[in-house]
Subunit: 244 residues, 2 copies
Amino acid sequence: MTYDLYYWPSIQGRGEFVRLALEEAGADYTDVARASTGKGSGMLAMLELMQGESIKYAPFAPPFLKAGQRLIAQTANVLLFLGDRHVLAPKSDAGRLWTHQLQLTIADLVQEIHDTHHPIASGLYYEEQREEARRRSNDFLASRAPKYLDYFETVLKRNTARGDYLVGARLTYADLSLFQIVEGLRYAFPRAMVGLEMSHPRVVAVRNHVAERASIADYLASSRRIPFNDEGIFRHYPELDAAP
Amino acid sequence: MTYDLYYWPSIQGRGEFVRLALEEAGADYTDVARASTGKGSGMLAMLELMQGESIKYAPFAPPFLKAGQRLIAQTANVLLFLGDRHVLAPKSDAGRLWTHQLQLTIADLVQEIHDTHHPIASGLYYEEQREEARRRSNDFLASRAPKYLDYFETVLKRNTARGDYLVGARLTYADLSLFQIVEGLRYAFPRAMVGLEMSHPRVVAVRNHVAERASIADYLASSRRIPFNDEGIFRHYPELDAAP
């Protein structure tokens, strides 16, 4: 199966959670909006799918994945689909839903991270909501980030299976997403993360295990990995970062 | 199967999306935190489950559902589970994921609605972020609410099956949730909703169909339906509502 991934071409964003799963699975995929040549490539192809009146299962927003005739959107939903196909989640119903539950909690965290720099409106520039962003970031770093990371630390502590993974003894897409959370928070809030990492060693261990996987290490070193930048979800504005 | 639903006892909140599914299914359930008598009832029982160190599949936050030995959290995840069990979603894999995709988009909308009155910090009072809430609500009503409602209107338009439902010809949990969105927006933003309803007749039709179902009509007239109030996700602050 060859997949077509549709996402904004210049940022990691929410698309990165899907990219990491595709890369770990060794799946054959085209990052359509980044492909500049060929029929059905580039941003135009993505916008056509978003606006095409014949698309019955229309996506609300990128990322979305084309798998044969199917078009699947919402990051966590795409991962639910890929998890089944590429053994990136348990086969049992209970294990599948638990992995998905963790992913949905990560999705909530991602939204809160986005809102640290855009607390008022995603359609306005950061500079138009800088003061509000400062207030929201203070709360995020003092209260919300610790709450989420405490939660994942607890989940890891209670998983008594061998290995440093969230679910049982095998890697799931939720581990890949938690890796991305740590990487993104390091980029966005390097000072605050010093303290947060010290108090969440199991979360950091997941990050390290994922980074060392051959497939992921290869991906991270490739040009397929878009560098973090200040257009995405994780943005580094020094004035929003707390002292360590 | 008897279910135990755990959610804050004084608000509809995110728990209401689960309650509507349980009610439509005619499921036997206990709203645990609202039950004041009996062993394992009340808020204490909910907090014990949230903080209990023996809970392997710990929830990050309410709502969560106990089904036999299973504990399932994240609203959309609970609905995915209930949809399979109570025929509140298609049986096909493609239909299940499409319904879930719509639900996850509703979940994003719910979060944006919450943030209209709490754009800075959920741990602060509304009065401590009133100015920011005014800015965020203006953007929500001018830009975000129309974008989401346009999307659901488009989905309904493209569903050529008989009936006024989001997916095929049968009611799904996503329709129940869209009903709750319309009800909640009417409560929170009555002036703005006058115009929004006029331009989204198919969304309003879903709301009407759901309200007329015997199970739902019975529920809405009962004391099990907590009235909207200004502690929940949908809050009516007249200063945040736009002129129609």
